[in-house]
Symmetry: D2
Subunit: 235 residues, 4 copies
C-alpha cells in the first residue's frame, strides 16, 4: 500500500468510527431489477494522450467486459454515457459553464474521442447517452427510461470518480434507484480521489461493492423478459 493510501486509510478509519456510531454507512442493498451504467468509457478517457485520459484501464475494461457478459445473459439493460458537445466555441455553446472549469472544449460531438471504447462496444439495443454535465442523469432521459423499464437498481462503473461517477451516484439515489458502485471498475486521473470519493459514497449515497459480489448478484438475479418490463394488470 502506498504512503498516500496509508494516510487516507487512517483518516477513513477514524471517520468510519464516527459514522457508524451515528448511524451512517448503512447498506442500501441490491434490488431485483438492475441496469448497468458505464460512465464515460469513451476513448478520450480510456486511451492515453487526451486531457481526459484516465488510469487503471487494465483493470476497468476487463471488469466491465465481465459485467456486460453477465448482464447480456440475463437481458439486463445496459446504458453507456459519453460527454460531448456540438458547439465548442462562441456564446451559443452547449458546454454551459463547464468549460470555465475544465477543458471540455476538446470533446467534440461526432469525433472518435467521444465514441465508446470498442473493447466494450455497445450492442444494438444498448444506449449511449450523450450528456453535457457530470451526472449521467443530469439533463438526459436516463432516469425516465429506467423508470419506464421498471429498473430499481443501477450498477455503476467508469470514470472519473471525482466527477461524473460521483455525481451520477448522488443523483441515482435521489431519483430512487439503488446505486451500487463497482470498486474495481471505477477510476480517475489523479491520486487519492478514487479512494476518498468511494469513501464518501459508501458512507452516504450508495454501496461500494467488489466486482465478484456484483457478478454473483447478476448470476442470481431473475432474467429480464419483455413481459416483465411491461406487465399490466389489465390493458
Amino acid at each position: 500500500m502506498s504512503e498516500i493510501q496509508q494516510a487516507l486509510e487512517t483518516i477513513f478509519s477514524a471517520d468510519s468510527a464516527v459514522y457508524r456510531q451515528r448511524g451512517f454507512q448503512r447498506r442500501i442493498g441490491f434490488g431485483t431489477r438492475p441496469a448497468l451504467i458505464h460512465i464515460d468509457l469513451a476513448n478520450a478517457w480510456t486511451r492515453p494522450g487526451n486531457a481526459f485520459s484516465c488510469d487503471g484501464m487494465d483493470t476497468i475494461i476487463p471488469g466491465v467486459q465481465r459485467l456486460n457478459d453477465a448482464a447480456r445473459a440475463k437481458g439486463i439493460p445496459i446504458a453507456y454515457t459519453t460527454t460531448a458537445y456540438a458547439v465548442t466555441d462562441g456564446p451559443n455553446t452547449d458546454m454551459g459553464l463547464w468549460h470555465r472549469k475544465i477543458p471540455v472544449e476538446v470533446l467534440q460531438l461526432g469525433t472518435d474521442a467521444v465514441a465508446i471504447d470498442e473493447r466494450i462496444a455497445p450492442e444494438p439495443d444498448e444506449h449511449v447517452i450523450v450528456k453535457k454535465h457530470a451526472s449521467a442523469f443530469f439533463g438526459t432521459h436516463l432516469a425516465n427510461m429506467l423508470r419506464a423499464g421498471d429498473v430499481d437498481t443501477v450498477i455503476i462503473t467508469g470514470v472519473t470518480m471525482a466527477g461524473c461517477v460521483r455525481h451520477t451516484t448522488e443523483d441515482a439515489i435521489g431519483y430512487g434507484f439503488r446505486p451500487i458502485v463497482v470498486r474495481e471498475c471505477v477510476g480517475d486521473r489523479v491520486a487519492g480521489v478514487v479512494e476518498w470519493n468511494l469513501f464518501d459514497i459508501d458512507a452516504k449515497f450508495g454501496d461500494v461493492e467488489p466486482l465478484e459480489t456484483v457478478l454473483d448478484y447478476l448470476a442470481a438475479v431473475e432474467p429480464r423478459t419483455e413481459a416483465a418490463a411491461s406487465e399490466t394488470l389489465r390493458s
Copy 2:
C-alpha cells in the same frame, strides 16, 4: 371562418369573460435576451406521408425562415428539436411508455424522417435537441444551456400544438423563461386543436403573439454578443 372555428370562438368568448373577471389572461411580455425554439420541424412532421405529418407548412415554414433571419442578424440563439429513438422495439427501448399511446416507433434515430427540414436548416452554431418526450425541456439539457447563455425569453414555433408545443410552453414558464408562442408558426394534424391549445396557453402559460409583433420585437432587441452572454463582474 369555418363552422368549427365559429363554435370554438363562441366558447372562447364566454370563457374569456370569466378569465378576465378573475384576473387570468395576463400578458407576460417579452424579456431582453430571447432564444428561438422550433419544435419538431423535421421531415416526419413537415412532409406528407408520415403518421406524424402536419398541416399548415405553407405558412409555418416561411414564418420560421423570417424568424431565423431576424434572429441570426442579432446573434440570437436558435434551438431545434426532433423526437427520435435509438431502439424502437424490445424491452430496452428509449421510447419510455409513449409508444403505448402514439406511433413513435416510426421515429428512428438517424433516418431522414427525424432530420430537420432542409428549408429551415440549422446553421453550425445552432442546436438540434433530440428529445424522447413531448416537451423540448423534458429529459434534455435545453433549460440548462439557455440559463448558461443568459436567455430570459423563448420564442416558440412548430408542431404539434396539442402535444409538444403545448408541453414545451408549460415547461418554459415553469423553468422561468417567458414563453412567446408565434400564432402563424404553430400547427397540428387534426381540426380544432391549434385553436383550443392556443386559447389555454394564452390564458395561463405564455403569450400568443402574431408573427409581425415578434418580428418587430426581434428588430428592436439588443444584439447578443459573446460578452453579453458571459459578462462577469470580476473573474
Copy 3:
C-alpha cells in the same frame, strides 16, 4: 347535451378518425403498483368565492372519497398537491413568472385557501406536495418518491383540467408512469376546457377512464405491503 358539447363532439369525432387511422389514441393500460394523485383539491379551488374556484365539486369530491377508500383498503399511496407561495410580492417571490399570467398571488402559503379540502382530508401517511408550477412533478420530489416506492401507475384527479391536471399527465408519462385520468373526478372553471383537454390527453398522453373502471381496477390490484415496496434480492 349542451350546444357547446355537441359542437365539440363533432370535432372530436372527425379528429378521432384521423388519429385512429394514423395509430394514435392507443391504450396505455393499468400497471400493477398504482398511486393516487389529487391535484389542487384545496379550498381555493373546491370552495366558492376564490379567483381559482372550480365547478363540479358535487361530483368530484364524492368520487375522490370513493377512490381514497379503495386505495386505503389496499395500502396504495396517496399524494395531494396544493399550489402555494411563501412570498407573493417583490422581486424575491417563489411565484417565478406565473403571476404574470394568472392570479397566483392570492395563494399564500399557510392560509386556509391552500389547505386540502377537509372533506377529503389526507391521512397521516399521505403526502401534500406544495408545488409552485402547474405539474405536480415540476420542481417537486414527487417523481422520486414514487420511483423509490416502486409505483408504476398514477391515477390522476383534480383541477384544473386546462392547467395543472393536463401538465401533470404530460409529465407523468414522460417520467415513465402510466397516467390514468378519472373522467368524473377532474374539473375546471370555464366551459369546454375539460372536454378538449381530456380529448388531447386520451389521444396522446394517458388513458381517460370512468370512475367505475378505476374502482374495479383498485378492487382487483394486489395490496401493497412494506415488503413489496422494499423487496431486495439480497441486502
Copy 4:
C-alpha cells in the same frame, strides 16, 4: 496544521500539478446577479447532540451572518435549505431510499431540529427550501425560482461538505449558475472530508473562495431592484 491535513496537502499538490498541466482548475468567476444559498444550517446540523451535528459552527455562523448582512444591504436574494420528512416510517415515506444509507428518519418535518438556526434566521422575503435529497436543487423549485429572478451566480455555504454542499455545487454549474463556495463557511462532522471535497470542487465544479473575497464582491455588486429582476423590452 494537523498530520491529516499535511498528508492531504501532499496529495493535493501532486494532483494539482496534473490538473493544471491538463487544463483543469480554471476559474469560473463571479457573475453580476448573485444569490446566497445556505445549505442545511438548521439545528440538527448546527447544534450538538444530533446524529447530524457538525463541527465548526463558531466560524460558519458568524461568516454567514456577515454574508447575509452584505446581501441584504443590496437586495440580493437569500435561500436556505433544510432536509425534512413528513413520513419517516412505513412504505409511503418521502425519504425515498436515503434512510437506507443515513439516519434521515430523525429529521421530522415541523420539529425544531429541522428549523433554521435562529442565529441566522431568515427574513420574511427569504426562502426556506425543504428538500428530500442532498442537493438544494434536487426535487425542488430552487433552480426555477433563481432563473425567474435572473440570478447567474450562487454563493454557497453550509453543511455537510461531503454530502449536500458537494451535490448542490455539482448541480449548480449543471443548471448554468456560477457556483462560489465560501471556504470558511462550509463544514462537516468527520475529519478530512471538507478538504478533499473542496479540492474536487475547485478542480471541476465551482470556485472555492475566501470569505473576504466574497464580501468584497458583494460590496461591489450592483444593488438588485425589482425593476432589475423583471425588466422587459416591452410588455
